[in-house]
Symmetry: C2
């Protein structure tokens, strides 16, 4: 690896432009409304605004709500939205139709998924999960475990197979493994297929959190016979702030799997208003309450971004972007500690950099128009949403990082650490 | 009661106009965007669109999401919204600040409320609720009961006190009573203060569902020492389709009450990303996952309708409207069976009419520009949202009802019963 010199920026820039030409077919920036001049590397926290969302929402408010009023539940498809939008998400996670329902938050969806898993495997009282999970996942796991009498055992996904064998040998059968496909902090992509197969081999169900993978990496839920999965839609799916989450339940479980949060929307005959709950056939039984229609409308319009897009080509673009970003940072700021794996098959769609003054670095980058994210205690997280980012954007980010660190801009006293929302 | 004659409409109309003049101070129709000529009697299913919502939402989409992006979590108050909007709802339900949190659906909020109640009264394994509850409430009650080992006993609210005494005598202590303040079907207003006092007298907690009362009748949660309450915001609060629900937990319970759906938003130190859940102090511990921000923005703007409004005066207006509607129907269509109580103190903000062909009646009324609601099997529900309805509207509705029934319009074959969403 060559040290940075005066020639380096130009060589890097020539290469960035060449790569952008090569990947021009997957440049979907025109489908978004992004502020000019901004390099937005936080699409894995809040995806950018797709074109068409504002108009769809204005119609939903002024025409559907304002003018057609309550009839819109039928006339504008509000009632069917949780399953219709679920079917729009399905191909993005490798699911055939009829297995994905949209609504509520990831927290609620994961709570449902783990309860359903516990009831499907009643005599296997151990839940295996990642100690490095996103906090909510750990809280939900602990909460459900307390309710159903599970013991939670934490090992990273790459130790799951060994742990499954060890626990079986100890007479402690695992009912479910619950993992995230991509680590939110490091960007590491885990082996969904391998861990799922190992879980099944041991008699356990596999539950996946796709928050940091759906829309960015290939998932293949049906192909790999995943049992249950959840995900948010406001990151790489660009559904807008707090857009509703989704739950996938494999078709083979849809008869037996139970919904711990029954409401009238999930009833077999909702309008009969019966006093006793009878779950709807199919994935509809996992509907909870009345979904936030306006947020749902925004999400549905946002998913138009993926229309006609080859997900494999998008993943190729993503890998090229993160690979190039890595190269550029290694060349321009060689001392930095890059946390995200270099190997394509172990990398999600982000690059995380470890730095003792990570918060100041993120703030100083933002002042230069490069928006990344801070993850406690010391991670600068650069999310790479392939549809609207270019290799030239990656170079701009790497150069900004060098300028910030060279100039000590990250030590500006204004950046004293404080609570930061993402 | 005089039979309808040719003079009747004029006398009724003179009276309607006189009453509208008398209540002109609470006519808030200018605060809404309603289609001209429509008499909208389904505001207890989906409230009308308040002015200002469309503009607030456009700003949230284009400026906050589209331009300011993830920084909006801080800069535009998205993070604080669940508690800030909760404090905006608080005065409408008679709660001091810091006891109401907004987000998720009523189903989820009721699930949280009942679990919290069960943990607060661990040795009292009976839940008392209304057999005529909205179906979701019965499903949630049955689901939570199964999880915590409660027995559900159903008696109407006016028999609660007797049932509490009987169950105590049988050695079956009641942990909580869970009732709706207004019956969704009949419009009957129950005695929230009396039932709450009786519950407390018996050692039980009182949990109220305010879906059909908040924004329409006086609630007085603090005054009557209610323990927990939930409600939706898309009926008389006009928050828009599927706008987020709320949960009230009385301050005295906020140290001990536990959240069965813990997520990182409800953690004491959310940005520390700690692996173990520690609930936030106060009502913030009942936050669940990431809230649907766009739906939340619409709700917050919608609540502006109530700014500077005397809720007592609004209730007086509502009672005058439903009283007059009753009089007009009794005069114009004397044979009809009016289900909603005639006494002011037992009437919510609707008038329900029983008719064997109720569905056809609702459809035929709609064809005449009077939008009511059908509730299985035989109820025509006329919701009266006082802020945007007048006594002249009530007369228009009563006349339409007479015309429909006189002309047999409700027997149009096009109105053969089918599933209807509200």
């Amino acid at each position: 690896m060559a040290p940075p010199d005066d020639e380096a920026p130009d060589r890097l820039e020539i290469r960035a432009r060449e790569l952008d030409r090569r990947h021009a077919g997957t440049d979907l920036r025109d489908r978004f409304e992004l502020p000019p001049g901004l390099v937005y590397l936080d699409g894995n926290s809040l995806g950018a605004l797709p074109r068409g969302v504002a108009a769809a929402l204005e119609d939903a408010v002024r025409v559907q709500w304002g003018s057609d009023l309550v009839a819109s539940w039928n006339d504008h498809g509000w009632w069917d939205a949780p399953l219709r939008v679920g079917d729009a998400i399905a191909p993005l996670v490798g699911a055939a139709p009829g297995q994905v329902v949209v609504g509520d938050s990831t927290t609620v969806r994961l709570h449902q998924a783990l309860h359903a898993a516990a009831r499907l495997r009643p005599d296997r009282p151990v839940l295996l999960t990642d100690p490095g999970s996103f906090p909510t996942d750990l809280y939900v796991a602990a909460g459900v475990a307390e309710q159903v009498g599970w013991t939670v055992v934490t090992v990273p996904p790459d130790e799951a197979e060994t742990a499954l064998a060890r626990l079986a040998a100890e007479g402690r059968p695992v009912g479910a493994v619950a993992y995230s496909q991509v680590d939110y902090r490091t960007g590491r992509l885990w082996d969904l297929a391998g861990v799922t197969a190992a879980a099944h081999e041991a008699g356990a169900l596999a539950v996946w959190d796709l928050c940091h993978s759906a829309g960015a990496v290939e998932v293949g839920l049906d192909l790999h016979q995943v049992d249950l999965a959840v995900g948010c839609t406001y990151k790489f799916l660009n559904g807008g702030p707090g857009s509703p989450a989704y739950l996938y339940v494999a078709r083979r479980h849809l008869v037996e799997a139970a919904n711990v949060l029954p409401g009238w929307h999930g009833h077999a005959r909702p309008f009969a208003m019966e006093p006793t709950y009878e779950p709807a056939p199919g994935i509809g039984r996992f509907r909870v309450g009345t979904p936030p229609v306006l947020s749902m409308v925004a999400l549905e319009a946002a998913l138009g971004v993926f229309e006609g897009v080859d997900l494999g080509a998008l993943r190729t673009r993503s890998l090229s972007l993160t690979r190039y970003l890595r190269e550029a940072i290694e060349e321009l700021v060689p001392a930095l500690d890059l946390v995200t794996p270099a190997e394509d098959e172990r990398r999600g769609s982000q690059l995380s950099v470890r730095h003792p003054e990570a918060y100041g670095v993120v703030r100083a980058l933002a002042a230069r128009g490069v928006l990344g994210d801070f993850r406690t205690p010391d991670v600068v997280r650069l999310g790479v949403a392939a549809p609207y980012l270019t290799h030239v954007d990656m170079l701009t980010a790497a150069r900004a990082l060098r300028a910030v660190l060279d100039g000590g801009e990250h030590r500006d006293p204004a950046y004293a650490l404080r609570a930061q929302v993402t």
